[in-house]
Point group: C2
Chain length 178, copies 2
């Protein structure tokens, strides 16, 4: 299972590719940041992010794309840019028929550190350990993108079981109303 | 001057094309709504909006695209979808090299009704009058998209004068420091 994690942002959009299955050691395939100049026009910044994401999809051919779910509650100043960058990432994936999953920051933190309230340093340290890297990926956006990919790989079995259960429940209900 | 106005939204994305110059009667070229099903996956909805906007750009070849500026302060529940739909519209325009302008809802209301606090009915009534339509465009998102295009045409001269003034001031400063 190869997953591209995307930590969306206009100035720095973290991207990281991880391969593996739950319960086995994971492998980092690539990590980086798509940057756009803060003084460029918004439309041009979105085009640059699209180009960057497309390059990562072309090069690494992930089977899933995991994007951080953006909430409007916090970071009011930057949340619009984050939402817009995440839209571009989701669009690029969906256009190719790649399934997109959204994970909240606390789901990601809980998956890699065991605590939904872990700080950036803890997430970086655990990503480094889990992927057996020599040092934490920099900047933090790059580490967060890898954490998203790891979270997706580890949550996938539970997620798939949940979807199966929902589907079975729905077909059972259907049978009952017939 | 031909402008595509976009009132961004995931469920209903209003689109309207207006042609004209400030100080002369304006002409509506087209109006409509790009809809996406609320139960579809977010990535697929963004792809559908991209396809819809592309069709409008292909058919009407606007010289400018005017998009409503989204604020994170109000409508917390729907603001993320609005930001994501607006990102797709800006991306489509910028990819073709079409300049994108953002106007706030109060700028648009003030431009077409004289008051930044006008309600939907007033905006619809003024759009109907200004474009000499038989009846107000429905739904309101379609009327809002036309209002955005009208706002852009009417604000453009002031906007251009402002940009010229800034450029002249910058070159004057440059001259002084030489």
């Amino acid at each position: 299972m190869r997953v591209l994690g995307v930590d969306p942002g206009l100035t720095r959009c973290g991207v990281g590719v991880v391969e593996g299955v739950a319960g086995r050691p994971l492998t980092m395939i690539g990590v980086g940041v798509v940057r756009t100049p803060a003084d460029a026009e918004l439309g041009h910044r979105l085009v640059a992010i699209e180009r960057g994401i497309e390059e990562w999809l072309d090069e690494h051919r992930p089977e899933f794309v995991a994007v951080e779910r953006v909430f409007s509650q916090h970071n009011v100043r930057t949340v619009m840019g984050t939402a817009q960058a995440s839209a571009v990432a989701m669009l690029c994936a969906a256009r190719r028929g790649i399934p997109v999953a959204l994970h909240t920051p606390s789901e990601v933190k809980a998956a890699v550190t065991g605590s939904g309230r872990a700080d950036k340093a803890q997430v970086g340290a655990m990503v480094t350990r889990l992927l057996r890297l020599a040092e934490p990926p920099r900047p933090a956006d790059a580490a967060d993108a890898l954490a998203l990919a790891i979270c997706h790989i580890w949550r996938a079995p539970a997620h798939n079981r949940l979807q199966q259960a929902v589907a079975q429940h729905a077909s059972a209900l259907k049978g009952r109303t017939r």
